[in-house]
Symmetry: C2
Subunit: 354 residues, 2 copies
Amino acid sequence: MRRMPTVKDVAEQAGVSVGTVSRVLSGEASVKPSLRERVNEAIAALGYRPNVTARALRTSKTEVIGLIVPDITNPFFAQMAASVETAAMERSHTVMLASSHNDPEAERHHILAFLDRSVCGIIVAASSGSSDLPSDLPVPIISLDRRLGEFSVVSTNHAQAAALMADHLYGLGHRRISYIAGPPDTEAACVRREAFVKRLAELGETAGPAEVTIHQGKFDYDSGERIARELLSLPPAERPTAIAAASDQQAIGALRAARDLKIDVPRRLSIAGFDDIALAKLVVPRLTTVRQPVEKLAMRAVEVLFDQPFAASDEMIDGSLVVRGSTGPAIAMKPGDITGQHRKRADDLAANKG
Amino acid sequence: MRRMPTVKDVAEQAGVSVGTVSRVLSGEASVKPSLRERVNEAIAALGYRPNVTARALRTSKTEVIGLIVPDITNPFFAQMAASVETAAMERSHTVMLASSHNDPEAERHHILAFLDRSVCGIIVAASSGSSDLPSDLPVPIISLDRRLGEFSVVSTNHAQAAALMADHLYGLGHRRISYIAGPPDTEAACVRREAFVKRLAELGETAGPAEVTIHQGKFDYDSGERIARELLSLPPAERPTAIAAASDQQAIGALRAARDLKIDVPRRLSIAGFDDIALAKLVVPRLTTVRQPVEKLAMRAVEVLFDQPFAASDEMIDGSLVVRGSTGPAIAMKPGDITGQHRKRADDLAANKG
DNA sequence: CTGAAAGCGCTTACAG
DNA sequence: CTGAAAGCGCTTACAG
């Protein structure tokens, strides 16, 4: 466990000053080629690696991006973390990942810890909307998918994406729909819910009203399962014919509940998610969902962080509907309930399912 | 964006020297209470936070643990990361997480990057068995679940756990079994496979031989689905009556394949996994698996890192069988094939399923 | 018990 | 183009 070589060792070995070593390290053009070469040889010979801590102390900058997610066991965020890491790597930056376990206090703690370590920027998928951070932070900070406090956000166009799902279900003839929402203290959950309900109301004016009930949950499997179980315990006539969820995890939980209660999906009940996690196409039946463009989102978040000068504004990328086997035409439709137009769409969609 | 206060600012405000400030910061007992109080007031008034970078440079130590996992999108490792984080937090340490994307080169890169940042210890779930790291690293390093190079490992007793599954399937009367293995360059995959096969051979001597075929895959959904699809395309008489996988992800992929091919699980085919990820009890049917005690493993890994002096040796914790709905008695059993003893066990287990 | 000073390994004006 | 020197914010012998 020998001492690591320092600039000083390299300088001695190369017969130059530490300043010169530092200059070739930073790629400064003004170093005479012969010296540069000697320095590089010394570096190789000694196996020298710059001490990033000393560098950070001197410059107050590192090449690491801090990323905070609400819950790393949520596959959506795991995927997001992987994508951010890839995007960062392309700019030869490292990412430090922390999970806030949905705890705003832990989230705040991690942000401060990142600041303490002089990260060059912070990306946070917020656990809740609020934050009592000062707004004049020393490094750029941007939220991803879920907005933190007053900071800008790169996200899916949650409103557009949620409307897509409303269109889909309404088009299939569903008129009694339950919506499993996400935590009301996250902007994303609220926007998705409101847009879903609003679009359904709009559609209702054209081809007969749809009833929609809202059920507050978290974004996880458990709340999806629990809420669906309650809903599906109602007598068939009062049950929704479709359940839309604010996350795929919730939808997969709902799928589980339907299965336990022996309710056939999609023939007697449609279930749809949001996110398009890897698992969505593995469950039985495959899950209809709205795809969030995670890779793009991650890439944009990283790009924005690097923009000089940093002046992030909100940025949204459209989501897209992915129709699979968990949604189908509504049962017990009275012919008058849907127009020929909608009927046709419903059939098309159903034919298309996975 | 004002300058952060330093020890010097605190010292001035409190009318003491920086040395004294540093001493109260480190909780040194020898500081006179009156001074200590003045320093603490100054700290509070200025909102002072120690600069961890400077501290790290001076002491070559930080309170952060580096954790590297092969793939953060694998739910097992996501859960492991969350558990390590919890265990670290209990000792008020932070964890920096990196994902190697199953690339030994990236893994090596991350280890060196952690070393550069003076982490106080490194935990790595290896992407493959090899490592060309020097063995005299300046900080403790231990592998978790999957061994890295020559380093010690805290893991499930893979051999014991895999044997449990062999017992279970054999006990249910299965005599034609396929095993979907993990990558052969990971020790965990090899140990699980060998133990599974060995136990089956042992059982074969008591109550009739079992045929077992091995199929190499990765640990992910895709390879499970692909391999199962091939296996299940065989004519029924040649098909396995049970498929055991080296991971839950593979098993869930296999479940998907069986479903697509309209093969009833567990009535015509049993499928079993390994890990017991959260999802295992959500899929249809619920997955029989071997539970790895992740929280315990994570906790032990962190504890071992803190042991003074650091002298890690391999440590194993037993896994446990979790019987759910994806396994059942083998079909088309000739009475002679299994003993009454085994028959009874099979029935018991089947009755127990979720 | 406390202060003054050295030093961790870098980078970067400042001279020359 | 390059060297000598200051300084980033701490901690820790060393005196007293």
